[in-house]
Amino acid sequence: MTAAYAGATSNHARRVVVTGIGMVTAVGIGREQTWSALLAGANGIRPITLCDPTDLDSTIAGEVPDFNVLQYVDRKDARRMDRFVHLAIAASGEAIAHAGLDIPAHRDEIGVMIGAGIGGLTTLEEQFHVLFEKGPGRVSPFLVPMFIPDMAAGQVSIQFGARGPNYNPVSACASGADALGTALEVIRRGDAVAMLAGGAESCVTRMGIASFASSRALSTKRNHDPEHASRPYDLERDGFVLGEGAATLVLEELEFARARGAHILAEFVSYGQSADAFHVTQPSEHGEGAARAMQIALRKAGIPASDIDYINPHGTSTPLNDKFETMSIKTVFGEAARAIPISSTKSMVGHTLGACGGIEAAVTVLSIRDQRIHQTRNLLVPDPDCDLDYVPEGPRDLAIDWAMSNSLGFGGHNSSLVFRRWDG
């Protein structure tokens, strides 16, 4: 067997830090609202209201409740954006304010990468019906610009005036993580001094639910009991619950952040990425692909696996994902795997697809900031195949120097991000 390509270790002088976070999720509009709800073990899964779910196999979702876009965008602009863009703008505005970043002063040196896995499904479905019922002459001139998945990155740039590197890295459910990882590399190579990066998704539509349900990825057994439906690592898990949301992180080159006196939340140290090259929807054997992404991220961080104190996993609540992800963690961490707390944010907000990598990276950074981690909700019946420490009991104080956030996507994409506590 050929030895694996050794790859890069750490060939960049520039360091990158996180200085701002914005989040919109099913458990809260706003960073601290979301974070305190997660620490409280809140549930964000409820009956669907965004579309008519009557004949759908799954009738529950992690919708963002009471989201009023007019708090963030004026009415005319808002009508020309899909909901996933609304969520991205809300999260990005909060992140920019949190960082105290003056974008106009550095507008050509600040870019945007917001991962969205699908795009404006709500708009597309509406316009399908216009086309079928009223003919092509009645289709909206904003259909294309509202549907295309790069528009979160595009509109955030337009709303906030960031003119640097800009596009949407897509890798299905790993999109948010790849957006962050790519943005990290953009700063490292000197193409920007700061990046707004994360993920956004809103696909709680009839087609969104029908297509995931048809692929047998969704939980369908607990429509009557939504708050127990998303149960990563639990023996009785039967699929994920679709969620919507957005998170944006402000990433900055360290010297730029220092020079402007920014408050640093954590260092974003490394990014590893791999392809299973195995199957479009099933994980590779023993989670081999996911393990490689983690190993690459660790190698690029220059640390042994044993340095990792906390893992925010992909943890979707599908039977296959949680089993194979557990195997991949054991492959990378060996015996030490049992000593590393692992908690799934999806147990409370559902699976937000392209947004989850952003949301979970934000949660990982807040865990480092507060030295405290949230639980995996609904882990009630242990699964012998999932035998690590998933923090089922409640929030936990934890000394964290190094933490990892993992995302895995349809298509066999694996991404792993490593963050480090900032000592100042």
Binding site: G111, G117, L143, M151, S211, S215, A275, V280, F410
Partner: protein, 419 residues
């Protein structure tokens, strides 16, 4: 930092189902635009398009898989296989993790989602295909190519509307330059010829109208009135120079620099001053350490919309100053139409070929000069020229801009052999 070279090309375009046929068609000044046949378009104003002609997906994808996947993914898989064959690259013989895939698309699986929306509306949610969700996603083609060829390195997609292909190739080159891969299969693909999207572009008043389809796409011409929607795919094999040399690969050109920017101006219209695309070109040249006056050819975005071509001309003048009058600028969309997420990739391949053959494809359908578009657009006839550096530029809805720089590759070893 490793240098990155282009060692393989795979193209599917309205002018041909591989790179050589496409290139020959471009150089001959042919148009690939015809009346639209992909769906019944009788209710549309001017149904013309750039479709693949006589392309047989069953030659590229096994039947069971072909039934599940979107047309756009099948096109991407074919283009990737063509590129790998052209590069004489044995992906499975490469070390694990060395070969990655980064293919972009503007929208993803347009055909599958349209079919399934009809099923959902007519027959209910349980009739929606179990393969829809996985196969409509923009990143699925990157995954399918990885599976088909055994490329298990870095893998994702990029979407940036019509700037997608350029952004994907640029990021893939950066992956190699920073050592995260030795080879990347990079490019873009799009199969957008479905009624809902066609209607959307028509509603934007973005589509060209002309009684003769072959003359509809007329970038930089005074009488241009929009772009022609096309399908296509382009995959480039990008490779670390040392890796290419060690295996004796044929090199088309060096991929020496790239950049993306955003106008931060409007979701649909480009900023009139062209500053966004100008900055992308400027940064790509800086990244490549190439002096602007050594650029001899720009394969422009040149869509054929009144605004785009004017803005792009202004940006080129602003950046290149007096050298703008010596530059050759052509839009191959005049012959191929606008392949959306594939456009930047196919045009990058064309820029690399221009460096390789020292030959510049024309802007066809150029008849009447526009005072706002006053560069040398290589009207109608290909031109033999010294091409030291060629650029490919792309501009997308959402304010995205990308620029790539390619450098002529002079094979010094061969020159020495001949001396």
């Amino acid at each position: 930092m490793p240098r990155v070279v282009v060692t393989g090309l795979g193209l599917l375009t309205p002018l041909g189902n591989d790179a050589p046929t496409t290139w020959d068609g471009l150089i001959a000044g042919r148009s690939g635009i015809t009346r639209l046949t992909s769906f019944d378009a009788s209710a549309y104003d001017c149904p013309i398009a750039g479709e693949l002609h006589d392309w047989d997906p069953t030659a590229w994808v096994e039947p069971k898989l072909l039934r599940r996947i979107d047309r756009s993914s099948a096109m991407a898989m074919a283009a990737a296989r063509l590129a790998v064959t052209d590069a004489a690259l044995d992906v499975r013989a490469e070390p694990p993790g060395a070969v990655g895939v980064l293919l972009g698309t503007g929208i993803g699986g347009a055909h599958l989602i349209v079919e399934n929306q009809q099923l959902l509306d007519d027959k209910g949610p349980r009739r929606v295909s179990p393969f829809l969700i996985a196969h409509m996603l923009p990143d699925t083609a990157s995954g399918l190519v990885a599976i088909a060829l055994g490329a298990d390195g870095a893998n994702f997609a990029i979407t940036a509307a019509c700037s997608t292909g350029g952004a994907a190739i640029g990021e893939a080159a950066e992956l190699i330059a920073r050592g995260d891969a030795q080879v990347m299969l990079a490019g873009g693909f799009e199969a957008p010829l479905r009624p809902v999207y066609y209607a959307g572009f028509q509603a934007m008043r973005a589509l060209a109208e002309h009684p003769d389809p072959a003359q509809a796409s007329r970038p930089f011409d005074r009488d241009r009135n929009g772009f022609v929607l096309s399908e296509g795919a382009g995959v480039l094999v990008l490779e670390a120079l040392e890796h290419a040399q060690a295996r004796g690969a044929h090199i088309y050109a060096e991929c020496s620099g790239s950049a993306t920017t955003n106008d931060a101006f409007d979701m649909v219209a480009a900023a009139e001053d062209g500053r966004g695309i100008q900055r992308a070109m400027e940064r790509a040249l800086a990244r490549a350490a190439v002096a602007p006056d050594t650029v001899d050819y720009i394969n422009a975005h040149g869509t054929g919309t009144p605004l785009n071509d004017r803005v792009e001309t202004r940006a080129i003048r602003a950046l290149f100053g007096a050298h703008a009058d010596r530059l050759l600028v052509s839009s191959t969309k005049s012959a191929l139409g606008h392949m959306m997420g594939a456009a930047g990739a196919v045009e990058a391949a064309i820029a690399a070929l221009a460096c390789h053959y020292q030959l510049v494809p024309p802007t066809i359908n150029y008849a009447t000069p526009d005072p706002d578009c006053d560069l040398d657009y290589v009207p109608n006839t290909a031109r033999r020229a010294t091409v030291r550096h060629a650029m490919s530029t792309s501009v997308g809805l959402g304010g995205h801009n990308s620029a790539l720089v390619f450098a002529r590759w002079e094979d010094h070893s061969r020159l020495e052999d001949n001396s």
